[in-house]
Subunit: 345 residues, 2 copies
């Protein structure tokens, strides 16, 4: 069985990332396209092998095509709630790009819309599909009771960032600007490994005019499990190494997951033992990471095929949590780092 | 001119660290000793070449010896305020070991006592004497406007820690236990480099029963300058690398100061440039660090010789700030990471 995918919003990421992923999956076929500027949809359709008759003048027209099995929407984030409502109206399963929504009100609407239907609704949060997550879950029981962590993703400002020219990013209507745009990835990864965040205290600042809003975040977190840690995120600095790592501290050892781009492969390093005197040698594991974008499409395709929304790995309720952490951090920063309880759905 | 030093409290650190430092400085001479258990003072005096007639039965007797030029006190932290009051009464300059006091009330009393006299009163906070601080101050203007930092000092629990047996550490009357005991060092270094801390939000936890109280801290800070960052401290984990580093991010570059014990020497690495495209090569500087304990004694000796308390590099008001940050972190943690303004003197 082949699933026909209707792509709504044929911008950079649709062309550079979604299309190759969809084309690499046997059972998926790019079958229809819509873009506000139709000429861009035409170019995309040609690249994708979509017949010109399936390039639509309106989203509704695409949604009314009975041959389309699900919608892949890559829209300015503030449009996510409307396209989901519209897809449900037309009985189409839909995946949207992260972040889930422009603000928590819209995010809540999306969660409620998803609850109101049996259609699979998914958020394309590919970081939840990294195979490193499962590897870490395997290792963690060996290091005892987890007590704390540091998560740090920092990098220099990229003056050639192709996404900088995106109008909705330059003048963000969505909370957090780049902090939510990229931060939800980091938080998806963190929470898949360590569970939900309960309290956030932190500070944000704007380093780059081009970010349109605050673009760095330094925070401390308390998880629902009682684990404490720091979460640091920003790619708006002057020259510095691009570095991304999670260190997990426990009472019988520690694990470092480093996926900085300077490494040949993402690397997990761990040691066990209750103290300095009983420390084991380090075990180092290089990860052959999956193509996470393909994995998320495969996952959503399975849910659509099975008509079973419970199979969706990142449903709106999960992506809601990622954005809620950013929202809490922004609120905290407005109050000099107050403790903000993360909104629950 | 030789200055005669009266040592009050002849425990491990007096014998292992202060005595060699005092003996290495030409103008200082260990000249009198007092310990609650006199036999320990006798052993110390013999090692130090102090005549047995100058081993006293009481602190007052030592303070009444007119030949003693200043007092070096290494007492359980809750005794600092009393020994300072007593030294002032006897017109003796005095240095005490960090942390300044067992709590903020006592710390404030010490600051007030120091203000009430022209005698030099100092806190032995040797980390404020690291030559790395001056090197960093030289480099920082090259990286532009500082926006943020991460300070992280983490290590495994040391089951053979010789200080663990110290009674006042096992049953801490002082706030923060090991968090203040070691944390004030880290905060002395941080604040010498980046200035005062205004707000603290964070979480603490107790990992080791032997700590007597919370022993790890994960926090976010906002400095008076507006710079934001995270401060992570703890040596109570299971097996992990002992690692201590400060990364400073600015809009035209970044600096990493790594003084992890695994390195041959403390190392400062920096790069400049406004973004990834304009990043300079890295400059790496290995620091031949000074003997900071000798430096702090030399500094205090100069102040005593000159009868000028303004020469003291770490007067009580400065050490007050270091402890106030820990106090704020502890209060914050009690309230799920609330924003706590650091008490000012």
């Amino acid at each position: 069985m082949t699933l026909n995918v209707g792509i709504v919003g044929t911008g950079i990421f649709a062309s550079d990332a979604h299309l190759p992923a969809i084309q690499a999956i046997d059972k998926l076929k790019p079958a229809a396209a819509y873009n506000r500027t139709k000429s861009k949809a035409d170019v995309f359709a040609e690249k994708a092998g979509i017949p010109s008759g399936n390039v639509y003048e309106s989203v509704d027209a695409l949604l009314e095509n009975p041959e389309i099995d699900f919608v892949d929407a890559l829209l300015p984030v503030q449009s996510n709630v409307d396209i989901i409502r519209n897809a449900i109206k037309h009985e189409k399963p839909i995946v949207i790009e992260k972040p889930i929504a422009a603000n928590m009100k819209q995010a809540r609407e999306i969660v409620e819309l998803a609850s109101s239907t049996d259609l699979p609704i998914g958020i394309l949060e590919q970081w939840a599909f990294f195979s490193s997550i499962n590897k870490l879950r395997e290792i963690l029981p060996q290091i005892g009771n987890i007590v704390s962590f540091t998560y740090k993703a920092t990098g220099p400002w990229n003056a050639n960032n192709k996404y900088l020219a995106t109008a909705w990013r330059q003048n963000p209507e969505h909370i957090g600007g780049f902090l939510s745009d990229g931060g939800v990835h980091q938080l998806a990864l963190l929470t898949e490994i360590l569970g939900h965040v309960e309290y956030v205290s932190g500070h944000t600042r704007q380093v780059r005019k081009e970010s349109g809003t605050d673009d760095i975040l330094f925070s401390s977190l308390k998880l629902t499990s009682g684990v404490i840690g720091t979460f640091t995120y920003g790619s708006a600095f002057g020259a510095t190494d691009k570095s991304t790592s999670l260190v997990i501290y426990a009472d019988n050892g520690s694990v470092t997951y480093d996926f900085s781009p300077s490494l040949p492969k993402p690397t997990i390093t761990y040691q066990t033992g209750a103290n300095a005197q009983e420390a084991s040698e380090k075990t180092v594991i290089e990860i052959d990471e999956v193509n996470a974008i393909q994995e998320e499409f495969k996952n959503f395709a399975s849910a659509v095929e099975a008509k079973d929304k419970s199979l969706v790995v990142v449903p709106p309720a999960k992506a809601f949590h990622h954005l809620a952490i950013i929202a809490a951090a922004l609120e905290s920063s407005k109050n000099n780092g107050s403790s903000v309880k993360v909104e629950v759905v």
